[in-house]
Structures are given as structure tokens and as C-alpha cells.
């Protein structure tokens, strides 16, 4: 189980998050919605260690996730995909997927020089895994293209593929459907269902309310850094405060 407790972040005088707590169970998708600037991405950043919180803590299966250290959060099993995909644009799609794999002896000089056989073996294993992941996200045909040449939707799938190489327990996905064509959105939805079936914890920030309703087991609504509603997608859609602050008054 992923737990974030009492997370607060202020940027100067602006309170981005004010004591937000959440819980997400294994094999579930938690939706995180709210107007722009409500603190959704900041919350994902805190959980992933990209942002140091002023207050609060994150635990995964009872173990504390070190704050403000993204590399340690990733090693704990937390994977973060960004709204604007972070990729190495001047490497190929295939190579981008390779870098998602942890435990690469070839990244150490001593291993490179003294144990080249081990490095080669691990490279072969990683390459096989990368091909499998690329097939899974439907990008196998783009493997040798530069990552920077992919469409926005394909780049989002690629950043998900990079995360999957590390077998994360938690996937923090920031607007995976924004700017993505309907065919790729359908692919993403199918993929997220598969990942939920694999007992992973998924936290999904998304403005596409159909996707949220379709996928999420539970939804949290943030506004001005505070939780204003929490519940099933249907309950959230019927909540008067949510209607006022985010979805808009019915006509």
C-alpha cells in the first residue's frame, strides 16, 4: 500500500499543498483530479522524491520513502511519468527503453574493464526485456526512431515503457491522455487495466473524466492544495463542491 501523510508544500507565499494525505491499495487505480494549479503534479512530485515537502511523509508497504531523493524513491519501486514526457530525445526509442532497466553492471567502469562478459550478458537480457516492453506498448515498429521524433502520444507511451523496465510497484502517471489520439488512449486504458491486474498501484492525474470514470477505483479531488472530495467516480461526479470548483455547474 502507498501512503502519503500530511503533505505540505509552499512556493514562496503560495501554498501548493496543505496537509494532503492519500492511500492507494495494491491492484487499484487512484484518480487525482482538480483544476489547474490545484497541486496534483506537486503531490506526484513529492511522492516520487522530485519535490522536497515542507511537511509530511510517504511510505510504501510500511517502509518510508526518502524525501526529496528521486533516485532512492525509484529504487523503492516508485515510477513517475511526467505530463511533458521526459525522454532522451537524441537516443533511439529502443535505447530510451534500455535506460529504464535498473541494475546495469555496464554503468560501472570497474565492471566494464574487468568483467566485460557479465556486462554483455546483462545487456542481452535487458535488450530482450526492452523488445518485450516495446511490443506491449505498441511501439516496436518505432524502436530505431529517435525518441524526439515521436508524436506526443507515442512519447507518453515510451515514458511508460521506460518505467515498466524497472518493474515499479507504484506508477504515478501525470495526464497520460492529454494530447493523445483516441486510438492511443484506448491502448493506454487497456495497458493500465493490465497493470492493475498485475497488482500494481497506479495514481492517475487526468482531466479526461471519461477515462477517470472508466478506470479509477477511487478518486480524490484537489482544489487549492486541499482535498475537497474523495470517493467512487460516480460519487465524485455527483458532488456539489466538485461541480462548483472543477466540473462546472450543470446547465
Amino acid at each position: 500500500m502507498l501512503q502519503a501523510a500530511d503533505i505540505s508544500v509552499a512556493y514562496g507565499g503560495f501554498q501548493a499543498l496543505a496537509g494532503v494525505s492519500l492511500r492507494a491499495e495494491a491492484g487499484s487505480i487512484l484518480g487525482l483530479v482538480g483544476p489547474n494549479g490545484s497541486g496534483k503534479s506537486t503531490l506526484l512530485n513529492v511522492i516520487a522524491g522530485v519535490q522536497f515537502p515542507d511537511r509530511g511523509s510517504v511510505t510504501l508497504d510500511g517502509r518510508t520513502v526518502p524525501a526529496g531523493r528521486p533516485e532512492l524513491a525509484a529504487q523503492c519501486g516508485i515510477g513517475r511519468a511526467f505530463q511533458i514526457p521526459r525522454l532522451t530525445r537524441r537516443l533511439t526509442v529502443f535505447q530510451n527503453v534500455l535506460i529504464g532497466a535498473p541494475d546495469q553492471p555496464g554503468e560501472r567502469v570497474s565492471e566494464l574493464l574487468l568483467r566485460p562478459g557479465r556486462v554483455r550478458r546483462r545487456e542481452r537480457e535487458i535488450a530482450e526485456a526492452a523488445h518485450a516492453v516495446l511490443r506491449r506498448v505498441d511501439l516496436a515498429h518505432k524502436a530505431q526512431d529517435y525518441a524526439g521524433n515521436l508524436s506526443g502520444g507515442q512519447q507518453k507511451l515510451l515514458s511508460l515503457a521506460m518505467l515498466l523496465m524497472g518493474h515499479p510497484r507504484v506508477l504515478l502517471l501525470d495526464e497520460p491522455a492529454a494530447g493523445v489520439n483516441p486510438v492511443l488512449i484506448a491502448r493506454e486504458i487497456a495497458l493500465l487495466r493490465e497493470l492493475r491486474a498485475e497488482r500494481r498501484i497506479i495514481v492517475l492525474v487526468e482531466h479526461n473524466m471519461d477515462m477517470i470514470a472508466d478506470l479509477c477505483d477511487r478518486v480524490i479531488v484537489l482544489d487549492a492544495g486541499e482535498i475537497i472530495a474523495e470517493g467512487s467516480p460516480a460519487a465524485i461526479r455527483a458532488d456539489a463542491r466538485v461541480m462548483r470548483s472543477y466540473l462546472g455547474e450543470p446547465a
Binding site: 530525445r89 537524441r90 537516443l91 534500455l98 535506460i99 554503468e107 567502469v109 535488450a127 530505431q144 524497472g166
Partner: protein, 281 residues
């Protein structure tokens, strides 16, 4: 000389071309290596101790220099390394006890020009092979990730600072050894040989040839060094004062750099895709 400066260029290729670290003090490890030879000469230490200083002290000092810079942005990296290089030069200028101060010091010179050339070529070949091994490896792949996006590397579980330290240690060792060899080839060292201008000469060569390509770095260094060495002949041929031609040369380098940025931002030899792809086979 071209081989020695190419080693320096390759040390910058690893830091900047592959990893994106802006080091404006690359003359510092070079100077430490040279002063290792000078220190050994002044204090009667055996010749090999100079090489140890170049190959071991330079990377160790590099790690100390980048200690405050590790968590800083690239602009500060440039300033910290620039400052460290100047600090060392001024220290050597004002502390004669280490290696002669402002007057410099004579170092055992490799007299046979053939031997000097062979030694320089051997160092260059070893450096090229080592840099290629890194560039074509998973380590090289991760350095290219850091060049574009440190946060990405961190969110994939890598500590960017660890990689920055590794690259600094390797490239400063290369530059340190090049400095020791330089001292033995020239036979004399003084602080005036290790000014900021030297760092920028390496930068111009690297940017001209192509920072992400070893071949490009060697090509750029060759062009810059041949142009620099030809100043004397041009001055004689044109009957113009030497100083004037030397300054004209610096202006020419500046012009070349502007043209490279405008016409070929990746340098004469851009990073080849198949070279990078070799890492994934």
C-alpha cells in the same frame, strides 16, 4: 603536441560532449600533471612520482573541486571550475617552494623527438580506446541521458552526482597524465603555460571538431594546433609583427567558432547514430 592536446580534448569530450558538464577549468588537471613533474624535479623525487601526481592527484583534486558544484546548475559548474584553475595558477605563481614560482622549473626532457612522439601517441591511443569503451557502453548511454535530463536519470533510479564524479575522475586523470607528459616533452614549466586561454583553446578545438565525437575532437585539435603553430611562419612570410599575427589568430578562432555555431552546431563531426546504437547490440 597535437596528440597531447587531443588527450585534453578527449577529456573534455567525456565531460561535456557525453555528459554535458561545462568545465572551464580543464587546464587545472593538465597543470597539476605538469607540476607533478616539476615538483618531482625540484624535490629530487623519482621521475615516476610526477606521473602518479598527474594520474592520481589530478582526479582526486577534481573530486574536491566538484564537491560544491555537484548540486549546482551548469553555470555554476563553469564558474567553480574556472575559479579553481586560476586559483591553482596563482598559487603556483606565488609559492616558489612547490615548483619554482614565477620563474618556473626545468624538468627532465625526453630528448629524442621520436621517443616523445611515440609516448604522446601511446597516451593518445590509450585515451581514445578508453573513451570509446565508455562511449559505446551502458555507462556512455547513461551519460547521454544526464546530458539531456538529470531529473530523468534520477527518476529512473540513478544518482546523477555519482556519474558526474566518475566522469570527472576519469577525465581529470587523462588530463593529468597529458600534463605530466607535456612537462617532459617541453622540459620546462611555468604558470604562464596554464592560463584560462589554454582552457578556451581546448574548448574551441572541441566545439569546432564536434564535442560528442572522438574523431571530431582529434580533428578539431589538429586544426587549432596546426593553425597555432603556423603563426610564426605566417609572421615571417607576411613580414607582419609576430604579436599582430598572434592576435589575428585569436580573432580567427573566434570567427571560426561563430561560424561553427551558425552552420554546424554539432561541430565538423556530429555524433553518429550508429555509434550510439552499437551500445544496444
Amino acid at each position: 603536441m597535437i596528440a597531447i592536446w587531443s588527450v585534453l580534448g578527449i577529456s573534455l569530450h567525456l565531460q561535456f560532449g557525453l555528459t554535458g558538464l561545462v568545465n572551464f577549468g580543464q587546464v587545472l588537471p593538465f597543470a597539476i600533471g605538469a607540476y607533478g613533474a616539476g615538483f618531482a624535479a625540484v624535490h629530487g623525487a623519482p621521475g615516476w612520482s610526477g606521473w602518479v601526481i598527474g594520474g592520481v592527484m589530478a582526479p582526486l583534486l577534481g573530486l574536491v573541486v566538484i564537491l560544491p558544484a555537484s548540486r549546482l546548475t551548469q553555470d555554476y559548474w563553469a564558474l567553480v571550475t574556472l575559479g579553481a584553475g586560476e586559483l591553482f595558477r596563482l598559487a603556483m605563481l606565488n609559492i616558489p617552494g612547490i615548483a619554482g614560482g614565477v620563474e618556473g622549473v626545468s624538468v627532465a626532457r625526453i630528448n629524442a623527438s621520436g621517443t616523445a612522439m611515440l609516448a604522446a601517441l601511446a597516451l593518445l591511443v590509450a585515451t581514445v580506446l578508453f573513451a570509446r569503451r565508455i562511449g559505446h557502453s551502458p555507462l556512455g548511454r547513461m551519460l547521454r541521458v544526464l546530458r539531456e535530463d538529470e531529473v530523468l536519470a534520477a527518476t529512473l533510479g540513478r544518482d546523477p552526482v555519482r556519474f558526474q564524479r566518475v566522469v570527472t575522475a576519469i577525465s581529470w586523470a587523462m588530463a593529468g597524465l597529458a600534463g605530466t607528459l607535456y612537462a617532459h616533452v617541453i622540459g620546462y614549466i611555468s604558470p604562464s603555460a596554464f592560463t584560462v586561454a589554454e582552457t578556451f583553446l581546448i574548448w574551441i578545438a572541441v566545439l569546432l571538431g564536434g564535442p560528442a565525437s572522438i574523431l571530431g575532437v582529434v580533428l578539431g585539435t589538429t586544426i587549432i594546433q596546426l593553425t597555432a603553430l603556423s603563426t610564426r611562419f605566417v609572421a615571417q612570410w607576411s613580414q607582419l609583427p609576430f604579436e599582430f599575427v598572434a592576435n589575428l589568430r585569436l580573432g580567427l578562432f573566434g570567427l571560426v567558432l561563430v561560424l561553427v555555431f551558425l552552420l554546424r552546431p554539432e561541430g565538423l563531426v556530429p555524433e553518429r547514430r550508429e555509434r550510439v546504437d552499437a551500445a544496444s547490440r
